[in-house]
């Protein structure tokens, strides 16, 4: 296994909208690993992703992505933002959305080439969305839209894939398929997936990190105890019988 360190955070403190959301976070991830970050809403998960992307600057601490500053290595990161934030009626089709992922290889004043379009088609094929190429983005189901946004992140051939609550809009039976896709992608890139859904994440990932302003746990999902989770969520977490994984009875859904 390639043990190259792709993401390294050292004592990172960060504000979001004038509130301190990250306090002294240390995190390290090596290539080819699948990390799930779990924690309550408002615990700083999205902020952490944005720090790795260089969209938010930490007030204190060091961030290195692929050995460089986050801004410089942004061209090697693929990002799928929290899904519910775009205008569903926007006049744009699936191909145009995914083509945005090729922007970096073009830059200002240069049109997308035939090669860009063929790579878009290949990636759409890979996520099973090629037949939807000409459809308006808002006319697709939540799960289909999510696959389009993943295609947009993949078409730039990233070394790190960052996913923010990717399963929130996907029907339960589609989630299995979604995680199978990530399983395949893992061979080519490191993946960081952020979610408040403890049980779904812990089964699939190589490593799990519990974040609620501070990092409470980072390691194998097997080593994650109910006590650690309880500390992350500031509340007791019920371990449901007949399952080898701790579940949290969610009250905020």
């Amino acid at each position: 296994m390639n043990s190259k360190e792709v993401v390294k955070l050292e004592d990172v403190w960060a504000y979001y909208d004038n509130t301190l959301v990250l306090r002294g976070v240390n995190l390290s991830l090596t290539a080819g690993r699948f990390l799930g970050i779990i924690g309550p809403n408002g615990g700083g998960k999205t902020t952490l992703l944005k720090i790795i992307l260089g969209l938010i600057k930490p007030s204190r601490g060091q961030v290195q992505v692929l050995g460089q500053t986050p801004e410089r290595s942004r061209k090697f990161t693929g990002y799928v933002a929290q899904h519910n934030l775009f205008d569903r009626a926007f006049p744009i089709n699936v191909e145009e959305v995914v083509l945005m992922g090729r922007y970096r290889s073009r830059g200002l004043l240069r049109r997308y080439s035939r090669q860009d379009r063929s790579e878009v088609s290949q990636v759409l094929e890979r996520v099973g969305m090629l037949d939807f190429k000409d459809r308006q983005i808002g006319s697709l189901s939540g799960g289909e839209q999510q696959r389009v946004f993943i295609a947009r992140a993949l078409v730039s051939e990233p070394a790190i894939l960052l996913l923010d609550e990717p399963t929130a809009s996907i029907a339960l039976d589609m989630q299995v398929e979604f995680y199978e896709l990530l399983e395949k992608l893992k061979a080519q890139m490191a993946i960081i997936l952020v979610s408040h859904d403890v049980s779904a994440v812990s089964v699939r990932v190589d490593e799990v990190a519990c974040l609620n302003h501070r990092l409470f746990y980072h390691g194998s999902p097997d080593g994650l105890s109910a006590e650690e989770l309880a500390r992350t969520y500031d509340s007791p977490v019920h371990v449901i019988a007949h399952s080898d994984l701790p579940h949290r009875e969610s009250k905020d859904q």
Binding site: L53, L55, R74, K75, T77, Y79, A81, L85, F86, D87, F90, P91, I92, N93, E96, V97, L99, M100, G101, Y103, R104, R106, G107, L108, L109, R111, Y112, Q136, R152, S156
Partner: protein, 273 residues
Amino acid sequence: MFEVFQYQFMQNALLAGLLAAIACGIVGVYVVAKRIVFISGGIAHASFGGVGLGYFLGMSPVLGATFFALASALGMGLVSRRTSLPEDTTIGILWALGMALGVIFIGLAPGYAPDLFSYLFGNILTVPTSDLVFMLVLDIIIIATVWLFYKEFLVISFDEEYGRVAGVPTEILYLVMLSLIALTVVVLIRVVGIILVIALLTIPAALARQFTHSLSKMMLLAAGIGALFTFGGLWLSFVLDLASGATIILVSAAAFLAYFGLSRLWRRKRRQS
């Protein structure tokens, strides 16, 4: 019935209508898709300060409006991006500030302001050829800019944060987009006036959106619809002897309401059968 179109002033009016339709078709699509209608209204009204400045300094009010529209576009864009003030607050302040400056400048100007009303509500029948040339130049700038930055404008309209991640210079391009709105406002002032600009920026694009989900096709369609509205409104205003700018807006709004009314009826009927 159409012999009125042989007059020079009528031909100028038609050309002005066409140039206005092209500008509002192209830029209106961004205004509608990116939902920046309010900031566009702010830019339009703030440009009145420039009209007043033109009178005060004895230069062309259209030139003054161009300057004010561009300055307010950049001002609103920068203040809303760089400070923590809410965007709509900034827009509201600059909107009123521009108009207030206009009123003060006109009050200070010697004599009285003869065409003041036409800058507020448009008068397409009095567009001189020199203004047509100016409108044409602005149209060419608008078309060229959108041609150059089409893919960037698409990214920042749809998903600005992703644009930043992808390396698009989003802030600069947003300011360029607002500047295009400012230029469009200037093109439209002669036709429908500062106060009515916002209708021609939104109605053709909003209608075009019902027929396609491609931005470029929307632009062509919106320009065509806009031309139809300005020509129709112009003709009707002449026949009924009504104010041209207001008639163009009424024709546009009537078409808009009719379309949505009919499509609702049609959908209900289809559901029943």
